[in-house]
């Protein structure tokens, strides 16, 4: 892939800042608008920018598909086990504020939401890896068979 030098350098240098924006959106999900889904989409878009700037094969070597799938499953499992923690502490599934699962902070603070913060982080990880997987599935598929002329 013969991108120009400006595109290549800028797309590599912009990636950590976009990831930090997404992490900020995820971590402040309980206090401000935003949350796991929005921040996860931003992080996934950062990966797509990274993969578009350089070769797709190099990007896939940096972030292999099997690791993406494992981390994506781990995101949902963080959510589910946070819900199971409510059961272990003697209340309902996904209970909050009754069982004091993480120590409560001030409302409006970063950890003021009880189980909101682990759930948001889990959803953010899951959605970021989902966007990367969709990019894998759609863009990076090479060597497609030519449309057959004798299908009719």
């Amino acid at each position: 892939m013969n991108n120009s030098l400006i595109v290549k350098v800028v797309s590599q240098k912009m990636v950590p800042f976009i990831i930090m924006l997404g992490a900020s959106i995820i971590l402040h999900g309980a206090a401000t608008p935003g949350g796991g889904f929005q921040g996860g989409v931003v992080i996934g878009a950062a990966y797509i920018l990274f993969a578009l700037g350089i070769d797709a094969k190099t990007a896939r070597l940096r972030l292999p598909v099997i690791k993406v799938k494992i981390v994506e499953s781990a995101g949902v499992l963080i959510y589910a086990f946070t819900g199971l923690g409510g059961i272990l502490l003697g209340s309902n599934f996904l209970a909050n504020k009754i069982v004091l699962f993480p120590p409560q902070g001030e409302p409006g603070g970063l950890f003021g939401g009880g189980t909101l913060i682990p759930i948001t982080i889990g959803v953010g990880i899951h959605v970021a890896c989902t966007v990367a997987s969709l990019y894998y599935a759609f863009v990076e598929y090479e060597g497609e068979p030519k449309p057959d002329k004798e299908t009719e």
Binding site: G34, V41, A45, I48, F138, E144
Partner: protein, 98 residues
């Protein structure tokens, strides 16, 4: 009608205009980019209605991920616009598959 509701009115008219343009334009890539502009405009409309979360989600998803998916599918299908009505006008633009 004060200035704020007037700007709201103009944003809604622009929304309808972009939606019309996205389905009228024959070129598929232009239609996809206009759909991205439509999605960003409707995110601004949600912001007018004070639904901040929905505006963020729509700006990230509709203008970002959906456009990327559409462009990826467009590139994989080589972008044949086969609206048969205006097919004669686009005869020199690209030949059909069969």
């Amino acid at each position: 009608m004060d200035l704020l509701s007037l700007s709201h009115f103009i944003v809604l008219l622009f929304l309808i205009a972009t939606a019309l343009a996205a389905i009228i334009v024959e070129d598929l890539l232009s239609a996809i980019i206009i759909y991205s502009a439509y999605s960003f405009t409707i995110a601004f409309t949600y912001l007018i209605f004070r639904a901040n979360d929905v505006a963020m989600t729509e700006a990230a998803v509709g203008a970002g991920v959906t456009t990327i998916l559409f462009i990826a599918a467009f590139c994989k299908t080589k972008g044949k616009e086969s609206d048969l009505v205006n097919h004669e006008a686009h005869e020199g633009h690209g030949e059909k598959t069969k």
